[in-house]
Symmetry: C2
Subunit: 213 residues, 2 copies
Amino acid sequence: MRIPSHIGIIPDGNRRWAQKNGMEKHQGYHFGLKPGLELLHLAKEYGIKEITYYGFTTDNCKRPAKQLEAFSKSCVEAVQLIAADGVSLLVVGNSQSPAFPSELKPYTVRTDINGGGIKVNFLVNYGWEWDLSSIGENGNSREKIFENLQSNDISRIDLVIRWGGMRRLSGFLPVQSVYADFYVVDSMWPDFIPQEFYNAMTWYDKQDVTLGG
Amino acid sequence: MRIPSHIGIIPDGNRRWAQKNGMEKHQGYHFGLKPGLELLHLAKEYGIKEITYYGFTTDNCKRPAKQLEAFSKSCVEAVQLIAADGVSLLVVGNSQSPAFPSELKPYTVRTDINGGGIKVNFLVNYGWEWDLSSIGENGNSREKIFENLQSNDISRIDLVIRWGGMRRLSGFLPVQSVYADFYVVDSMWPDFIPQEFYNAMTWYDKQDVTLGG
């Protein structure tokens, strides 16, 4: 079976899930924590080398304060859960802004935890324009562009899996995703079941990697 | 009905279509010309304001010479067909390279033809790294990034439609596509039928535009 080296995870649908289950929108984020850890363990089992989670973005910060507080808190808790595992952890985002949770500052430098292992990147207060802002005009090679991204420690993505039914990237790592295959799960992220991950892997196995060639 | 302002078209599957129909791979491109014009007329009927076709890329140029010649010729013919219509036409790509067909040089400046009308952008010898190479380090606002792209006369894309079943962008305008909805048609581009366009429009109508918010 052909396994992706690097998967991107867009864990969407938390607010819709909350409403469907009789809660307020902002209460949904908390229920995305367990799926995040479960998925990490599956990725490790499959020998995936790198996983990037879409935490929250500068775009998301335009939402009501109650939601902002809730998703920020959930991201902190998610990173802390991951940091109790064996991983090589990096939080990527604009940490100069007040929207960046101070608890996560120590993780803005890649840290091997419990012996290291799978590279886990967690995007927090990430913005695609922030990411591209440092590309510079120093030559147009791919290597140079990758080197100069704010997210330059995140490698090319093979497969993006998005929960919640939307078929869009919503600003997720535009450079790393240029050749990525895109798999959409219709159910909401808090309803995550392992079968969805297996299906994505089976689908990916049948894709033809061309890198645009 | 909510109509996208700007649609991106990835007309994939020409080579697979050729093989399925007992031809050599490179013979497929020619059969993509008629669909391209048909789609343009449908887009005009729907009041779509801008359409961008993915012609060929610098990545594609790594293919065998026979294919390169064939897709380059088909892109020239496609642009010439479009240029006989009422459009505001622009060809975007690295025109400094020998792979750029000289017949298309006049269209690298936007030209209103037969009274102008819908903006039609046609990517020829396009490379995402070429596109991003001029972003510069002059501030990280979205406006500045858009302004400094090589493709700065192409606006944000609402909906990308890809034929041929692959679920990936393959380097298609990474900045303009950050918030785009992505619709995949399983059949091959030369088999295009209007119903596929109608289905894409109906699907798009049900999507919720958030621009990442």
